[in-house]
Amino acid sequence: MGEPAIICDGLTRDFPSGRALDGLTIDVQPGEVLALLGPNGAGKTTTIRLLNGVLVPDSGTATVLGMDPWRQGNELRARTGVLTENAGLDERFTALENLVVMARLRGIDADVARRKAGDLLERFGMGHRADVKVQGFSTGQRKRVALARALLHEPDLLFLDEPTSGLDPAATRDVVDLIGSLAAEQGRTVVLCTHFLGEAGKLANRMAVLFQGKLHAFGTPAELARGLWTGTEVRLDLDVPAPDALLSSLGALSMVIQAVPTPNGVVVRVADRDAVPVVVATCVAAGAPVYAVNPHDPSLEDVYFEIEARAGAVALPEEP
């Protein structure tokens, strides 16, 4: 594995309203999609602004594409593309004009800029509206134009801030597919800020979970799940809630960590998958027919909400 595309260590930034980011330490590998997850105000946008050299940190260091974002900001920004949460298009201009101006500000020749902008608008399904003023565009159309703008100069690193916020389900799927192809086919490094777990689950290799400016978890969903829970969760369908006697029998098994009744059976957490036949046999022996057995790997949602719950517990004020 080569040099990371992003390394940051202890990145901290205060605003008059409080601390926006508190000691962020992460790394992103070239070609990787990293999802920055967290609720509004978690510090995701501040992270992007710091890593792209727009904001200066109060403390901490970072190297992005081998550069110091605050000493080599313009060199860095020449190689990054940003999709801001609000598309940031000038409504007084057409889609094509918006893109051409931005390309020219990036030093691209006017003719080349016009050609590239036209090609990208076509690719993102906006070719037919290239010469229409942005004023009447839907949120989805604006996002597409803004995504095209972020790609005009073929950046090595993409920062995407809430790329699907405000989009309907069909537009969300289209944008997620576009981002997926950018990472998979073109090998771009992507930092994706979102609070939509579905798109993060589809796109991201790793995730960093932020709450109130602090990093609470960082890794692949499987790594994070292993850190949160031990063993494997198995759902048994008994058609009725597990009786207390069965719960006691299951609890007595050494390989069972936990057994919790559900409306139609029981959820058993076992140390490893070898315990599953023993659990099923115990149920049958106790006179409970087993209709289905489903080992359940935790989803990104399970991981995120568990982290959120634990972060919330940490953040709760102490009882007086």
């Binding site: 605003f15 602004r49 792209n52 050299g53 727009v54 904001l55 200066v56 940190p57 109060d58 110091d68 605050w70 000493r71 900001g73 313009n74 060199e75 860095l76 920004r77 020449a78 990054t80 940003v82 801001t84 609000n86 940031g88 298009l89 000038d90 409504e91 007084r92 201009f93 101006v101 931005m102 020219r104 500000l105 990036r106 030093g107 703008r149 920062f159």
Partner: protein
Amino acid sequence: MTDSTARVATVERERVNWSVVRVMLGRDLGAIVRSKALILPMLALPLVLLVLLPAAIGLAANGKQLRVERFVDMLPSALAAPVMAHPPQERLVILVLGYLVAPLFLIVPLMISAVTAADTFAGEKERRTLETLLHLPVRDRDLYIAKLLGGFIPATAVAWSGFVIFAVISNIVCWPVMHRLFLPTWLWMIVILWLAPAVAAIGLGIMVRVSIRVNNTQEAQQLGGAVVLPLVILAVGQTTGLLLAGPKVAFGAGIVLWAIAIWLNIRGARAYARDTMATRL
């Protein structure tokens, strides 16, 4: 200097990228031309002040003998002398179009620079386009210069072209009274070429500072108006006296105005820093 400011300061010593300035300037001027909300107020005041007023004065001077001596008599003799040196039928034209309109004329570049600066600086925040600009590989200073010129060029252009129209109309309408071309005078040339750009630059300097602190154009104009309007009244009052006192004094006043403008804009450039602007997004 903190480590943070040192990091930012290192990039500010490089040369101005005029290519970036030109593109940004073209974008801002193009947007102004397309915006009726900007164009209409920019043209309304010059129309009244530079077209309708001289036409009305010219017609009044033609129609009957209006006596201005009682007004001129209230001025100190040194100030009244330039007006009283003319024949009685010319005194109204000379007093109003030669002297009194000149300081009022300074409102034109001041107002236009304030309106355009509010749009180009605070308007970027309002339209949510500022963050996109901050993520570009463009130096803060280049961005600032482009924005400054985006306010300065329309203000100066309207002032200068407005004066040409004013002079043509005044000379035509007042020909029956004056029987000669009486505009431009030296005083007017100083007002147009020296004072008007300085006043526009002052308006920009004030509006930049205001615009960094507010979130939309309306707030910028309101807050800017609270600062600019008293200055306008003060300036008009003082400039009337300065102009009557002669070209040398008017030129000297221009030096003071330019010094203020330069000071304001240097401070504005320092305040127009990426981190500061991103903090207020």
